[in-house]
Structures are given as structure tokens and as C-alpha cells.
Symmetry: C2
Subunit: 260 residues, 2 copies
């Protein structure tokens, strides 16, 4: 099942994607909902960020090859995380499929994509076992953890490097039952393949993160957890279009512009 | 003017505190609202977290004496922040005035309060000058940035040390027009004064943080910014009651329990 959030007149609505149509509902899949009976052509609706989370978790470092190759670029030894310490991102930075990533005027050239699998939670979770962890996931979407590397090296926190407005594209929708095994993440710039990795080849699995986080933190319906990226991202620049495909979910596409 | 959020039957409502009464409104001060005409005794209502933010900013290190004395405790040189890098906290950890801070079973004894002034935003803000910054603040409340220091030293992020459920008491309400100059923050454990500092003696003022943050991030109505603490906090333990008074705002009181 594919759930999207879209602009219907003045309001944001949820809908179920069925082929090239969207069936609108009243309410949300994170609470109660009822079909309104209205249908739209998928091609004609403006998709919105599929959910605005109350808590926006992000794994950060979660693929061995990413750690090794990013460390080599800095001339440093790779340091692998020894425990599943989750981090955070911020809602102000979220944009939908199709919306532009806006690079600030004073950003360096080192602005880079990071294609990430995103777990979207459907049920309240606390003290959840690894075995049951995925039962609390409502569905999966795609995130682009856009990062400005100079700020990332110099700021005391990631507030600006990772959370500048428009730096967190998420979408295009939520798929409730994709197959995680064998899933691949493919990043393209203007159609050129720049990254292709096994999505579920993580240092700590989604289930491990959920288990560890819920020892201390209650996860709420609509919360999201971004699960990290692999490889060594390239820079993106004004005029590029970045697409992140995750097999079984879809493709998140965003143009890039730099502030004049 | 004093705004509170409280439990009215099944729903959360906003109200205006007038003496020992609360005048209920329909809606919220962050959007439209209309008085319902219903009034309650302040002493009889259950206060809720005054706002659930979409973005939860926290200054972290923002007082010179805190930096000096915390560094001395670690046998390290003090390192002062050179730029106003804002950090984040997480909504799952928020609790209201009166609700218990719950120390997890496996936490160390080094669980500590941090009394903080909190700016609550009322208007959307982007690219705001220092001079105009405070015009975007709707009001001010009090936060207790409860921290587990062993986790803080060892976790790669602050997710657990700072964002364990119940570690972010905020309230009791929002005061729209307190006097920041001369304001004092006083922390008491079971009535014993353990901290007393000049609230507005910050390394970076609220106006500076708002100016810097809004160069890159849009601040939305209902977002909050916690502004750091001074001094060297003591440990808190099961059975303690922590109160944080900020003159002109009120007193945030929370009992402490440790999971059995």
C-alpha cells in the first residue's frame, strides 16, 4: 500500500496511491481516517512531505564503506560506531518530492546528497525487542540528508550543515510493505548513476536502532528515523537534479538551485 | 499576559491565567483563538507542556562560568564557543510542571538539572536582524535540561543523555512580557538554593541566536529555543523535588523518581 500526502485546495490531505490515481481520505493513517470518495490523477497532485514528525531521528553514520572512504578523504583512520547512538534532524529543513534544494549564497561548493532509507512509525513504541521492532514501523520512505561539509567540520553541532532550510527532502510517499532484503539505493545526478548500494547492508539495522532507542525514548506515530547512507557522495550544484531511487519504494527527485 | 495549556476533559486547551483563575480559549495563541467564556481555578487544572514545538532548539553551552567550572571538574581547559551554534532536543522528553523526572534504572548517579530560560516563538522568522529578533518571540518559559553526564561523555550524540523520556520539563506557562534585564534564575532542591545566577548574562543573547539561526533556518510559531544554564549543577536523586524559578516568569517544579 502506498500512502501520500498532497495539497488539496487549501488543505493537506492524505491519500492512497492506486496506479495513476490518488484516493483521498479524511484524517491520517497515523490516526483514524475515512475515504472521502474523491480521486485525483497522481500526475496532477502536488505531493507534500509525507509526514511532519514530532521526533526526527537520524542514524548518521551507519554503513562501513561510507566510514572507510570518508575517513580516507580526510586522511584519517576510519572510526566505526560501537553503539547505535541515534541523532536528530530538524523539521524546518524538510521539503517534498519536486521541491528545490536551495544552497545558501555563503555555502561552500561541498554540498552533497546522502540517499537514505527512512522508517516511518505507526504505533507508540517503548522497550521494544529487536524481533518485534519492525511491527511498529508503518512504512518506509526516502530521505536525502543534504550536507554542507565545511560547516559540518567547523560547527559545534550539525544545525547548519544538515538542517538549513530545504536540506531534508523526504518522499515521494510512504510504502507500507516493501521488501528490505535485496533492496538497493541508487542516486543519480541528472540521470548519471553516482551511487548504487545495498540498502539493508547497515552497521546497525533499523530493528537494532528501534530496540536501542526505545529503551529510553518513546517513539510516537508519525515519528521518522533516517538510516544513513553508503558510499562517498559527490557535490551537487545549481542546475543539477538529484534523484534517489530505493527499489520497492520509489524515487525522490529534487532540483538544486543556489541563492543568487 | 500569562498563557497556559491545560487538560480540559479529554482535550488540551489554552487559557489565560488571571490571578487564581484560567480563562479558556478555543484555538491557540500561535494561531487564531476565541474565548470560550469558561473559567477554572488555576489550582484545580492540570497544566500541560505549554507548547509542543515543531523545532526544539537548545543553545547548550551559553554561560562563561558554566564552561569554566565544568571544564575544571574534568581537569580540562575551558573552551568557549566562538559562534552561536544552536543544537537540538527532542519532544519525546518533554514533561509538564508537576510531572516526575524518571531516572532510568541503568543511569548513573550523575543525573543533573540545568535551569534554562526558554524563548517561545510567535511569528515565522527568517533573516531577522538582532534588533528585531525579540519581536518574533511570543513569550518566555522555563526549561530543565536534565542530563545524564556519563552518557553525555560516552554517547556519540546527546540522544540518551539529554533526551531520555521525562528529561525535558518545560513550563509552567508562557509569560509574554517579562523583563529580561535583572532577571534571575534560582534552582532549588527540596527548597535548598543550589544555583542563583543572572539569567541574561549569556555568552550569546537570545537575539544573537535568533539572528544567526534565521540566516539559514526558518523559525515557526510554537518553536522553542532553550538558552543554556550557568553554574555547576548538582546530582538529583529519587525523592528530590527540583524547582527552577525565573523571576518574572514563575517556578517550574518536578519531583524526581528512579525506576525500580
Amino acid at each position: 500500500m502506498i500512502w501520500c500526502r498532497f495539497q488539496a485546495g487549501e488543505t493537506a490531505r492524505y491519500g492512497v496511491v492506486e496506479g495513476d490515481q490518488v484516493s483521498e481520505v479524511d484524517g491520517s493513517p497515523f490516526g483514524d481516517y475515512t475515504p472521502t470518495g474523491r480521486r485525483y490523477d497522481l500526475a496532477s497532485v502536488r505531493l507534500l512531505v509525507p509526514v511532519i514528525p514530532s521526533n526526527f531521528y537520524c542514524a548518521g553514520i551507519n554503513y562501513r564503506d561510507h566510514v572507510i572512504r570518508m575517513a580516507a578523504l580526510r586522511g584519517a583512520e576510519p572510526v566505526f560506531p560501537t553503539q547505535a547512538d541515534i541523532g536528530y534532524r530538524a523539521n524546518n529543513a524538510l521539503i517534498a518530492h519536486g521541491e528545490p534544494i536551495v544552497i545558501p549564497r555563503d555555502a561552500s561548493e561541498e554540498v552533497q546528497y546522502e540517499g537514505e532509507l527512512v522508517a516511518v512509525f505507526g504505533r507508540q513504541a517503548r522497550n521494544v525487542s529487536k524481533e518485534e521492532a519492525l511491527d511498529y514501523v508503518f512504512g518506509w520512505t526516502i530521505g536525502n540528508d543534504v550536507s554542507e561539509r565545511v560547516w559540518q567540520r567547523n560547527d559545534r553541532t550539525f544545525w547548519r550543515s544538515k538542517n538549513t532550510d530545504t536540506f531534508k527532502p523526504m518522499g515521494p510517499w510512504i510504502v507500507t510493505d516493501p521488501q528490505l532484503d535485496g533492496m538497493r539505493t541508487r542516486v543519480r545526478i541528472d540521470g548519471r548513476l553516482v551511487e548504487d548500494f545495498e540498502t539493508n547492508n547497515m552497521i546497525f539495522s533499523a530493528a537494532t536502532f528501534i530496540h536501542e532507542v526505545t529503551k529510553y525514548n518513546t517513539i510516537y506515530p508519525g515519528d521518522v528515523m533516517w538510516l544513513g547512507t553508503d558510499g562517498v557522495p559527490e557535490n551537487i550544484k545549481h542546475g543539477d537534479t538529484v534523484s534517489i531511487e530505493i527499489t520497492g519504494i520509489g524515487t525522490l527527485i529534487n532540483p538544486v538551485v543556489r541563492e543568487a
